[in-house]
Amino acid sequence: MNIFKKFQNGLKKTSSVLSSNLLSIVSAKKINQEILDEIESTLISSDLGLEVTESLIKKIKSTNISSDSDSNFVLKILSGELEKILKPREKLLLSNNNEKPTVIIFIGVNGSGKTTTIGKLIHKIPSESNILVGACDTFRAAAVEQLKEWTLRKNVDFYQGNIEQDPASLAYTASLKAVKENYDYLIIDTAGRLSNNTNLLNQLIKIKNVVGKTIDTKQIKTLLVLDGTNGSNMIKQVEIFGESLDINGLIITKIDGTAKGGALVSIANKYEIPIHFVGLGEKIDDLYEFSARSFAQSMLELDN
């Protein structure tokens, strides 16, 4: 199964809801206000947000649709528009010419899937690289054990501190170790936190600062993990985490269910932050490099 197919399958339920809705709306009828309203509602209900929806509706309005165009026509317009928005955000996370070590700090709301994504990511990194995983979620019960379990599966080095140790001090010693022992990657897991919790945001800033003491900040990437089932709050998360921390990339998880992940499009529309991966399942290899075309097309269930 190629990646596109997998991608498409993963998003199948997502898209079938959306596109069958749209198909039933646009087939046979002429586009009038009532139908446009329906399309609008349908787009909003896939978490695309009002702004993106309005621009898509405008696009449909300005396009001539003759009575004999096929029913896919509107879908194709929409998917083209979505792709246009998403395309500039495609960017690979892993590249070879990085200085050693590359530090990847994972941040996000509780339960967004940080630890699981790290588990999947270490599986994606070529096995000749040395990886050190630092467990800086010292808050949630058994978070360290969970992460450790993932590192054992890939035989990756694991660095943990004491229970309730200050996560920043742990991050600091982990970065010292990463430099001293010449690791290629240092991956840091942090405790989940809500974007409106100032104190916990400050803690993240501190973690980033202390890592920056031993490692050039250019080598530090802060990745925000977003839960694909979240609605408009996803945009808020990007906004607020982004205000206090320079976010270098996004990973969106859990869009293998019925979640439509549409908020991703409004984020791409609003922020120039690369989207590196999408999480499409629970298995170790269910993390996929983000592709605008695949995402847009499979969202609307069009063939490649």
Partner: protein, 487 residues
């Protein structure tokens, strides 16, 4: 509201001065503001038709369209929004009351009625059997907060009753999930059913019931793995668990940040097992709360609790009628009064009040006041329940007035001698150093506290002259501009 007074100086600093001390990104939205966006939008919509003697059908259509958009933007799921609008509309048209009542009020009333209809009227308590074993099943998507909610509910029940509780985890998939619940069980001191990472859900279910019977357990809280609703195999597993367990309650745990997907989640879980209630998590986030409406409306089962913070005790019973009022901008005075009644030592407060009225007020009293505030969940918790004080609330959050601060201030006062407490003017340089060393704080902190105290003292005199019976809002207005910035 006298107990608020020691930090009133901050509140009244008004928007002229916003402290840069803490880099506070974005708005600080207290959970009680979760419907803030919706509330704002609705108020705007209503004001656009205000003053019109008669609403034409075109006006009504436009208004309904705007309400629809407002709901969708607040992340209420589309099918729920559609029903909502249809119902409000048919109520308006059916009753033909367009001409008789002020249009704006009528619309508010109908919207409110419909909100209460969706959310339900009363708090629905958790169903615990008087005799015999109560079994409570938890389900939800990955990362919705099931395991944390299980522990929080266990803690909540334990505080209210003497029931013997057993926590069971049937999450055999996520690494260390069982370990997580085990740690939490230990933390709150309830039993955990340890089956050494067994990989069979049937086995865990069956054996935990047996174990409960043998050990005279009253309540089983049964945690399950997170699952996607389209994962047929996993949904089948949930059905099997339900079959074996025969739960008295099946709780759907849902993230309040969920967007439109809430409708699918609620629908699919509801079709798989018999959902009897839900717990909404992360209500302390800055989500727009639409998920609450979607989930209640689609499962038909009441929201029983809401998770309002990371700590184990941050679980509150859900009162739908109060939330409905809040959506339309009315405060939650009842919650405030209840909370106050729960926590405030009345005798102490009245003696404090007397002292204040007389103008004799020393650091000892100040410490008492701080303690009372700490008990009530800090000043922002109190303020959030009052209507119309969102500005003040924002300021508090920006000034980072937290429970920790209260604690450290109490420590400072405790490190003073009796003489110093009675007569704080005595406290000069060397005493300050001693006090800061004794309380593990810095001299600046001692200075800040003293400054705050002196200002409070001054305030009290002012308040006295302002007279009694002012509402907090009036008081705020009066105070605005009078206070020096930054304590």
């Amino acid at each position: 509201m006298k107990f608020l007074n020691c930090n009133f100086t901050d509140l009244s600093a008004s928007d002229r001065y916003i402290s840069p001390r803490v880099s506070c990104p974005g708005e600080n939205v207290d959970w009680r503001k979760m419907f803030g966006t919706l509330n704002e939008r609705l108020e705007k919509i209503v004001s656009s038709i205000r003053g019109k003697a008669i609403i034409s059908e075109a006006d009504l259509d436009l208004t309904m369209r705007e309400i629809r958009i407002a709901f969708l933007e607040a992340d209420v799921a589309l099918p729920v929004v559609k029903d909502f609008i249809d119902n409000v509309k048919s109520n308006i048209l059916g009753k033909e009351i367009l001409k008789s009542i002020k249009p704006d009020q009528m619309i508010i009333k109908l919207v409110q009625d419909e909100l209460i209809k969706i959310l339900g009227e009363n708090n629905a308590p958790i169903n615990i059997q008087k005799n015999g074993l109560t079994k409570i099943l938890f389900c939800g998507l990955q990362g919705s907060g099931k395991t944390t909610s299980v522990a929080k509910l266990a803690n909540h029940i334990q505080k209210e009753s003497k029931k013997k509780i057993l926590l069971v985890s049937a999450d055999i998939y996520r690494p260390a999930a069982q370990e997580q619940l085990k740690v939490l069980a230990k933390q709150i001191n309830v039993s955990f059913f340890d089956i050494n990472n067994s990989k069979s859900v049937d086995l865990i279910t069956n054996e935990s019931i047996e174990y409960a019977a043998k050990n005279l357990i009253d309540i089983i809280l049964f945690d399950t793995a997170g699952r996607q609703v389209i994962d047929d195999k996993m949904m089948e597993e949930l059905k099997i668990i339900e079959n074996i367990l025969q739960p008295h309650e099946s709780i759907l745990v849902a993230d309040s940040l969920t967007g439109q997907d809430a409708a699918n989640v609620a629908k699919n879980f509801g079709e798989t097992i018999n959902i009897t209630g839900s717990i909404l998590t992360r209500v302390d986030g800055d989500g727009r709360g639409g998920a609450a409406l979607s989930i209640k409306s689609i499962t038909g089962a009441p929201i029983k609790f809401i998770g309002t913070g990371e700590k184990i005790e941050k679980l509150e019973a859900f009162y739908p009628d109060r939330i409905a009022n809040r959506i339309l901008g009315m405060g939650d005075i009842i919650s405030l009064v209840e909370k106050a009644a729960e926590n405030i030592d009345e005798k102490e407060m009245s003696s404090l009040a007397k002292k204040m009225a007389k103008g004799v007020f020393d650091l000892e009293d100040f410490a008492k006041q701080l303690k009372q505030m700490g008990k009530m969940g800090g000043i922002s918790g109190i303020m959030s329940m009052l209507p119309g004080v969102s500005k003040a609330q924002k300021l508090i959050a920006e000034n980072n007035i937290s429970e920790d601060l209260i604690k450290s201030q109490i420590a400072i006062i405790n490190s003073m001698t009796k003489k110093e407490k009675k007569n704080p003017i005595l406290i000069k340089a060397s005493r300050k150093i001693r006090i800061s060393n004794g309380s593990g704080t810095r001299v600046q902190d001692v200075n800040k506290l003293l400054k705050q105290f002196f200002q409070s003292q001054k305030m009290m005199k002012k308040m006295k002259s302002m007279g009694k019976g002012s509402s907090p809002e009036d008081l705020m207005q009066k105070l605005q501009g009078r206070m020096p910035p930054n304590f």
